[in-house]
Homo-oligomer: 541 residues x 2
């Protein structure tokens, strides 16, 4: 995909903002000789727009631009950052039907989904603007001086949280908007006062460019420093980005292999930095007997819809279904099989995703402990929903095959002998984004033992729901123990995501005028603060 | 230090709780053949008590005991954990003069310091008990269902934070109580609901044993699960501990070399885990011209006291003093030189610390850019306070020598040409636990540019104070960018330390009875919760 002849053309154009140029400090730049093309998801054909892979010097320039912007950006009033986020939201909402068509072309996602995802993306920008106004992200704490305390006086101590520095963000293939250029990682990093260097996903570079342009317009309209947002193209640039000394944290959504590689690089830096990688989850769904008895057919229908939604291309796609051996469970498996066999083929995001899906299903098909129940390999560029049944011994013995996410519209049913074996199977699972319990009120009342395991295994525990569909709100956790994410203490969806990019600073005996506004006596921001151990909005004398 | 003959004796004694046995799941165990002895800090002579290095199997048993305790400990009411912490505090306070004498013998610290440190240690246990009662550590958030929302309804979502799992804690040499067996890492991990496996520091194993016994007595009195606290002896056990699959986080206070090694091990695990290592800081002190003019002699006296306090064996010891070239600064350096030259020799914690201090000073002495101003090498087992002056070019060129902590009563003065050069020097510094600005009101009013750099470099910024002496409170941050710590988002002193060992979990559409008490409708804990974006203590219908 390299095109040597482009370089000479570029030298005269590189300042003029042509399509496919990298976004560096408010300028466009295309100094490299490697040219990439997006592909039409439906046909696999290369699209005509060229994208210029960032050179090492361009990655360096993008990181330096972010670092230069940090000093201004971090210390501006949070309300100004909120205005910037709202301006981004407005720019996103104003993108026209040609934009929706471009995203469709690059991802094969239906227009309604793209419109919905756009609304979610601009909505989360506005939600983070609310967080900035609410002010609890500061974590403001004030311990007033106690000059007469015995045996030693206490000096005035005040704490609040500041942005960690420039953040590198790697976009996801499966959410070209909500987990990409202007997605949750970017939104939470910007909210925290951290400039972003975004690495565009090779699967939707045109989409990334349009969104990046929207962000840059918003930055200009709200007078942000030029390097507040930067974007580089290219598949070889991630390593240089993560290893750059200016980068202070990383956000990533993608495969376990890719995420772990970034974690290892970040940990090996002279100055190690945190990586928040959202990676691999099989999202177990546990079906309790009474629920199957009362509404087994409905569950089969709902579960099928969750498995095949968006061609199964969700981090929270239910990949493992557990039930206790019974006539009801057998009937349920038959119903699920029938429904899964009825599902049409679907076009996937790109040929890489499709090929991984097919390989994953083929490996299952060949395993002696696994029985295919529904779905065959589909022809051409399509994915056929597939259902498998695995022997419980595979789970109990920790077979890696059942712990690995198959990205696509497939799921695996496991029948356990009894409640004790169910608990043992859940204990054997690795960390998950979600775990779901489907049961009637009576049986749920006795399910405390299940909850105890599930809340240790997952970032989100659902009762009588399906894990696909992640609300963007204060209480959401889209995270979980490894390998669901690299750090169970974070979430990449919801307002708590901002915490990943903040660090506390304490000011001791500091004159009021030198304190951040969040900590000043008058409480000019009107925020709630922990003063001498009690939450209070009052001004201090 | 190995004693093969002890093994046969041990087999009959290992259940009887003899001194020097490892603490595993409420029992004592000494299955190993390597016997260690503490040394008297003043003489370097081995003390008579034998300590039995934990075998690999014993480390494994300790981790499994912690894991077994976790299920009970994590889910008990926080008020019960608070009772446990208070019981530990009471047991510590009840330790008699023989305990103080033992600590003195092992560390050469004066009795008054040990009594003070014990008060701090029991005080921080009680402070974490208050945190557990206050309940903000839960981070409770509730987004109520919005069944009529368009285009999609919102389901009930509730979030709170749970302990991450068993924590391995490595004690520090320099705080045998406050940063050791029952120190801040242990206190915050236990508060978070995480059982602890503590690795006793080889410098004060007798002290560690007495404190561990106190914790075990408290655990028994408050009916905690047996594995809630475990302690292993031995210098070779750290790796097995950090690599153990049951361990979910690590707390460490010590050298950059040791801390980084643990970080690297933790990052390379099949399941990487977070390490909170507090390592190396030189704690710059910036002296502004007017302050030197008004009270230079007083500052020289106070700074000297801070440098030599406790033989300089503090993480926050001021190791770098910066001032702008002037008659006042020259006079100050003369005063500081005179005072430092006047300081008596001091006994250090152990021969390793003394030897490192001497080596560090010798390297400075040999560097062409450094001029010794006060202090010679002391005879025998003592440390002589020392003062050096370094050429500013060493800082500007990033010479590693000026970035490295010399643990002991030494400090380095650097004279800068002007304010611009001062800013450049501060920019060249690595991450710090503290940074201190000493100035008069007028000059501080114009010091916003200095503050901007200092708050990016350090976890705590002090005005007109000295960094030694770390208050244990809500607003304290004892942390900072690398290499001060391995993760600037944490603190190892103060109540925010609990956050390191918690992770958020979201409950979606969960029946009230299955929710943690912190999230139940009735708000039985009476805590403040973020309900639909607003803090509230009200019960929900």
């Amino acid at each position: 995909m390299s095109d040597q002849s482009s370089q000479s053309n570029l030298s005269s154009q590189s300042k003029q903002g042509f399509a496919g140029h990298n976004f560096i400090g408010g300028q466009r730049s295309a100094e490299g000789s490697v040219v990439l093309y997006s592909r039409a998801a439906a046909s696999g054909d290369a699209l005509p727009m060229p994208f210029y892979q960032a050179t090492v010097a361009e990655v360096d320039a993008a990181c330096h631009a972010a670092a230069a912007a940090f000093t201004t950006f971090r210390s501006m009033p949070a309300s100004q950052r909120a205005d910037f986020l709202c301006a981004i939201a407005d720019e996103l909402d104003a993108l026209g039907t040609d934009f929706v068509e471009l995203v469709q072309q690059e991802t094969a996602l239906p227009a309604a989904r793209i419109m919905g995802e756009r609304g979610r993306t601009s909505g989360q920008m506005r939600l983070f603007a609310e967080v900035l106004k609410r002010g609890d992200f500061y974590g403001a704490r004030i311990d007033l001086a106690l000059p007469d305390r015995q045996p030693l006086p206490r000096v005035d101590l005040r704490q609040c949280r500041l942005g960690v520095g420039p953040v590198a963000v790697f976009g996801a293939s499966n959410f070209p908007l909500a987990f990409s250029t202007a997605g949750g990682d970017t939104a939470s990093a910007l909210a925290a006062g951290c400039p972003v260097v975004f690495k565009a996903h090779s699967g939707h570079m045109g989409t990334a460019e349009k969104v990046a342009e929207a962000i840059v317009r918003a930055a200009e309209k709200t007078a942000m420093p030029a390097g507040v947002f930067n974007m580089v193209f290219g598949s070889g640039v991630g390593e240089a980005l993560v290893k750059h000394p200016a980068i202070q944290a990383v956000g990533f959504t993608g495969s376990l292999h890719g995420g772990r590689a970034l974690c290892d690089m970040a940990a090996a830096r002279p100055q190690p930095i945190p990586v928040f990688a959202e990676m691999s989850s099989i999202n177990p769904v546990i079906l309790m007997p009474q629920a199957l008895s009362v509404r087994g057919e409905k569950i089969a229908s709902e579960l099928t819809a969750s498995v095949v939604l968006g061609a199964g291309q969700f981090c929270t796609n239910p990949g493992l279904v557990l039930g206790i051996r019974s006539a009801e469970f057998s009937a349920f498996v038959d119903q699920l099989t029938a429904r899964m066999a009825d599902q049409p083929v679907q076009c996937m995001l790109n040929s890489g995703v499709l090929s991984s899906y097919r390989k994953g299903c083929a490996v299952l098909r060949q395993h002696s402990g696994i029985t295919p129940l529904a779905g065959e390999e589909a022809p051409d560029r399509c994915a056929q929903p597939q259902l498998f049944k695995a022997d419980v011994s595979m789970l109990l013995q920790g077979d890696a095959l059942l712990q690995e996410e198959i990205f696509g519209p497939a799921t695996i049913v496991v029948e356990v002998a009894d409640h004790a074996q169910l608990l043992a199977c859940l204990q054997a699972l690795h960390g998950q984004l979600t775990a779901t319990l489907i049961g009637e009120a009576d049986e749920l009342a006795g399910a405390a033992d299940l909850m105890t395991i599930l809340e240790q295994k997952a970032g989100r525990v659902l009762i009588n729901g399906y894990p696909t569909g992640v609300e963007v709100s204060d209480a959401m956790v889209h995270g979980g123990p490894y390998p669901a994410t690299s750090d169970a203490r974070g979430t990449s969806v919801g307002t708590l995501a901002i915490d990943r990019f903040l660090r506390p600073v304490c000011y001791q005996n500091c004159p009021d005028a030198l304190l951040p506004a969040a900590l000043q006596n008058a409480n000019p921001l009107g925020i709630s603060r922990l003063v001498n151990g009690e939450q209070s909005r009052r001004a201090l004398p």
